[in-house]
């Protein structure tokens, strides 16, 4: 039956044996509705870590592959979300979905983050803006099952038919004015053994929580300083720990001349040589910094000790796949574009951090983790413990942007705790987080288009990138779809590229190919993976095509976009942003479109490239052109929380501005020169547009698309297009200031860490 939003869809839910009512649903139901519950993964398995036998044992558990909502005796509901909250509001959105289906106030839904659950196999990975898309249906099923069980229990007590009862605000209402709170029914409604229960979903036409603006549920804790991040946790005897790292990427310790001396420094309790450097543990992180800098280490070589930006670019050039001019008729012209995107850091404000307590026969880990199952398996292997002996807690993180797809800190903390035989609270220094942390890979992107006066006949794109490390494992959807791709030995990167990159315009023959160069850098995808670079190159070339074909950039896009839904967001920003208004010299508008994650969006910006703005004096920062206005329209299908969605688009706009205008890492001799936020120029207040409008389009679908990364690509492209129009020169290097003289004095590589300043009181205001 086609769901038009008015019918109640029937399904079979689960009740789990527990002291109070616990209702559950298969987490796989969203991805494979036709094969719900099928838990055997189709993707390559790291059999040495986790074999089929392990899987079958876990699959036989009653909770296998299920997510469960508990009803508490105080009429609240609890749910352990098998995803990581990294600031993008998925906890709040999930609470809204549960509240909607259960008829409960959002504030009465308690969301925690689930520990690593290996029985979920590939279904506990946070990434690809997939969280709400993947959990929306299973969470609704579990909540609707709980509601049905509560209704059935009350109806039995009242000796009435369940169909005569309704629910509202945490209460079951009977046909003769009876009322029973969920809390009063929670124990009686509990199942004594795991069983199934037919239930129905609320029709989307009856929604009154989903689609309404909701503030974050953790907002009060945040503004009062109570929100707990991993470094705020009090694990007994887990003392501050830091690592002295090499002056090059992946350099190893040959010897330490003064280990005993450092161990005797004030506050220091332990010093240990580990695979990534020399770890120190002490009473305060400040004393750890002193100890790191006091260590006299002889280092062996790293993996890329000689490569600088220019060398990497030369390697990429060698690996580029040729563009092919198709054979086309007379009157057809071609246009080429060639763009370079330099390395960028995905470091969040909270640096890599983890607490580890490794004992002889067990281990416990706390860390912000988007791939906790892979982390658990890898740590177990490294420690020589069974998977069931390693408990991995997922902690809400201070941002991610791709960084926490990896569990570098958790693995390192486990190794250090084992070496020292004590619990450790490991935190990376900011300078290390830029230099030794992961970087979005440098890439070139080449475009060739053929066209005549009226049409574009071909649009070819070749993305050549330093390889992106995707070893954090697979999300279930990605692995399933990758297996369905045409023959050929597609690598994981190519699968991701194929599954995410599109040309959203009717341009005849379109091809997009990826080639990668595997160098020894620490890479990882940053928010929105390939799309910001690929789409920026595309949208710049679209402006060039429009220019050559004598068309307005907005009208040109409007003509060639593939769908009415796409044109609707484009039209919206053009109208709200007053596209085509007269602009002063040195300023311009730019417009761009993007589609991904089952959504469409468009961005219009205005940029000021006049000398007075570009040369504004700001101490220890870059100014450059300023985006003065941004208008963004977004259609994600079904918006769950418009306020949260707006926030994600605002963040995406700030990322887009940074990636076009200011933000990059400069590699010299295998390591980035950047070591602080005054070197790595992410958007600061002086770069922020004073006028930002985000328009959330009305629902166009029965199900939500992705949101977390969705704002970046269109914003980056719109800023680039505006810059080209304001200056009359299309930028081909990103960010545009990357090849300018370095705007800062690099923090030295030796000693490894910069000392904290001492002039804080003089700078008080």
């Amino acid at each position: 039956m086609k769901d038009d939003g008015t019918s109640r869809r029937r399904f079979l839910g689960y009740l789990i044996a527990a002291p109070t009512l616990v209702a559950a649903a298969d987490l796989a139901v969203a991805a494979h509705p036709e094969a719900a519950g099928a838990a055997v993964p189709s993707a390559p398995e790291p059999a040495d870590l986790f074999d089929l036998g392990d899987l079958l044992v876990l699959a036989s558990m009653p909770t296998s592959n299920k997510i469960a909502i508990q009803i508490n005796t105080d009429s609240t509901a609890s749910f352990a979300l098998p995803r990581a909250e990294v600031g993008q509001g998925i906890s709040t959105a999930t609470a809204m979905i549960i509240a909607e289906e259960l008829d409960l106030a959002v504030e009465n839904v308690h969301i925690t983050l689930a520990d690593a659950r290996p029985e979920l196999v590939f279904n506990q990975l946070t990434g690809g803006s997939n969280s709400i898309r993947s959990i929306y249906t299973p969470v609704r099923h579990a909540a609707a099952t709980a509601r049905q069980r509560l209704v059935n229990t009350a109806a039995k007590n009242w000796k009435v038919s369940p169909g005569t009862c309704t629910t509202s605000n945490g209460v079951v209402n009977g046909p003769s004015g009876q009322h029973a709170s969920y809390g009063s029914l929670a124990v009686q409604a509990a199942a004594s053994q795991t069983t199934t229960l037919p239930a129905t979903l609320k029709p989307t036409s009856k929604f009154d929580v989903i689609g309404k603006a909701q503030s974050r549920l953790d907002a009060h804790d945040i503004v009062t300083g109570r929100k707990t991040f991993v470094m705020d946790m009090d694990v007994p005897n887990a003392l501050p720990t830091m690592v002295c790292r090499p002056p090059t990427i992946n350099g190893t310790v040959k010897s330490v001349a003064n280990l005993a001396t450092v161990q005797a420094m004030p506050g220091i309790t332990d010093v240990a040589i580990v695979s990534t450097g020399v770890a120190v543990r002490g009473a305060t992180f400040g004393q750890c910094i002193d100890a790191v800098d006091a260590l006299n280490v002889t280092w062996g070589p790293g993996t890329e000790d000689s490569k600088s930006d220019a060398d990497v670019l030369a390697e990429l050039r060698k690996a580029e796949i040729p563009l092919l001019v198709p054979k086309l008729g007379l009157g057809t012209k071609t246009i080429d574009g060639d763009f370079v995107f330099y390395f960028r850091s995905n470091s969040p404000l909270e640096t890599n951090a983890a607490i580890a307590d490794v004992r002889a026969d067990s281990a416990e880990i706390w860390s912000p983790l988007k791939s906790p199952i892979v982390a658990q398996e890898t740590i177990a292997l490294k420690l020589g413990l069974g998977i069931d002996k390693v408990k991995v807690h997922v902690i809400s993180s201070g941002g991610s942007f791709g960084r926490h797809l990896f569990f570098d800190a958790a693995l390192e903390a486990a190794e250090i705790s084992k070496a020292m035989g004590k619990p450790v609270k490991l935190m990376w220094h900011r300078t290390d987080d830029f230099r030794h942390g992961r970087t979005h890979p440098m890439a070139t992107n080449r475009v060739r288009a053929s066209y005549n006066a009226n049409n574009v006949f071909s649009f070819e794109q070749r993305h050549t990138s330093v390889s992106t490390d995707f070893t954090h494992g697979l999300g279930e959807i990605l692995s399933a779809m990758a297996a369905k791709l045409p023959e050929g030995n597609l690598g994981f990167s190519e699968s991701i590229f194929e599954l995410t990159q599109t040309t959203p315009y009717n341009f005849g023959i379109t091809t997009q190919l990826l080639n990668e160069v595997d160098l020894g850098f620490h890479t990882g995808s940053m928010r929105n993976i390939y799309s910001p670079d690929v789409r920026t190159a595309q949208e710049l070339m679209i402006d060039q095509l429009a220019l050559r074909m004598g068309r307005d950039p907005y009208q040109f896009r409007h003509t060639f976009l593939k769908s009415a839904r796409s044109r609707a967001v484009l039209d919206k920003v053009a109208q709200v942003g007053n596209w085509g208004r007269a602009m002063a010299p040195g300023t311009a508008q730019g417009i761009a479109f993007h589609t991904e994650y089952k959504g469409v969006c468009a961005c219009l910006v205005e940029i000021d490239c006049t000398p007075a703005t570009v040369n504004r004096p700001i101490a220890d920062g870059v100014t450059g052109p300023r985006v003065t206005k941004a208008v963004f329209a977004v259609d994600v299908g079904l918006p769950i929380n418009p306020r949260g969605l707006e926030a994600q688009m605002q963040g995406g706009i700030m990322d887009g501005i940074a990636q076009t205008l200011t933000s990059s890492l400069h590699f010299k001799n295998g390591i980035p020169l950047e070591g602080s936020w005054d070197n790595y120029y992410y958007t600061r207040q002086w770069n922020v547009p004073t006028d930002v409008q985000v328009i959330v389009m009305p629902a166009t679908s029965q199900s939500p698309g992705g949101a977390g990364e969705f704002g970046v690509a269109a914003s980056m492209a719109a800023v680039a297009c505006a810059y080209a129009r304001a200056t009359g020169t299309m930028p081909t290097v990103f960010p545009i200031n990357h090849l300018d003289p370095l705007g800062f004095t690099p923090i030295p590589l030796v000693p490894p860490l910069p000392q904290s300043p001492t002039d804080g009181l003089a700078n008080a205001f």
Partner: protein
């Protein structure tokens, strides 16, 4: 080891720690006050911004030996008490505009914002976009737009 005495959020505290350890670590690692966050330890990101005698400062850049017994340190945890309410108007504006995303930088953002508005009001004028442009606190989630709105909103209540 030297003993240091000062006032944090209205209470006198004493710690035994060498003079040169920065106040941020004394607050976080020894006193268990976790509102001020570590984002760089270089007086750059401003995530640890707190107040000393009512002025914004970065405890990552102050050796504990520089803090006098009479100095009053206020962290985000003690901000509301300075106005004798459950929330400071700046915190309330942060809630009303749903500013935070991950929340890591926000204690520092709020403490900076309060000092900035006080500074501007002391000059007898209203806060402008140029004043907001001077705020150096990093927000890697990019909540800057709502931060600007919240500061303007709260400034009217302060």
């Amino acid at each position: 080891m030297p003993q240091h005495t000062f006032i944090v959020n209205g209470e006198q505290v004493s710690v035994d720690v060498p003079d040169d350890v920065r106040l941020l670590w004394v607050l976080r690692d020894l006193l268990g006050i976790h509102g001020p966050k570590y984002g760089c330890g270089l007086e750059v990101c401003r995530a640890c911004t707190s107040h000393i005698n009512g002025k914004a400062f970065n405890p990552c850049a102050v050796p504990v030996g520089d803090v006098a017994p009479t100095d009053e340190i206020t962290t985000i945890e003690g901000l509301a008490a300075t106005v004798g309410a459950d929330l400071h108007p700046m915190q309330q504006a942060w809630l009303d505009l749903d500013v935070a995303q991950c929340g890591y930088c926000q204690p520092g953002q709020i403490m900076t914002a309060v000092a900035k508005v006080r500074q501007i009001h002391a000059e007898g004028r209203e806060i402008t976009d140029a004043d907001l442009d001077e705020i150096r606190n990093i927000c890697r989630c990019g909540t800057y737009v709502r931060i600007r709105e919240a500061i303007k909103t709260a400034a009217a209540q302060m």
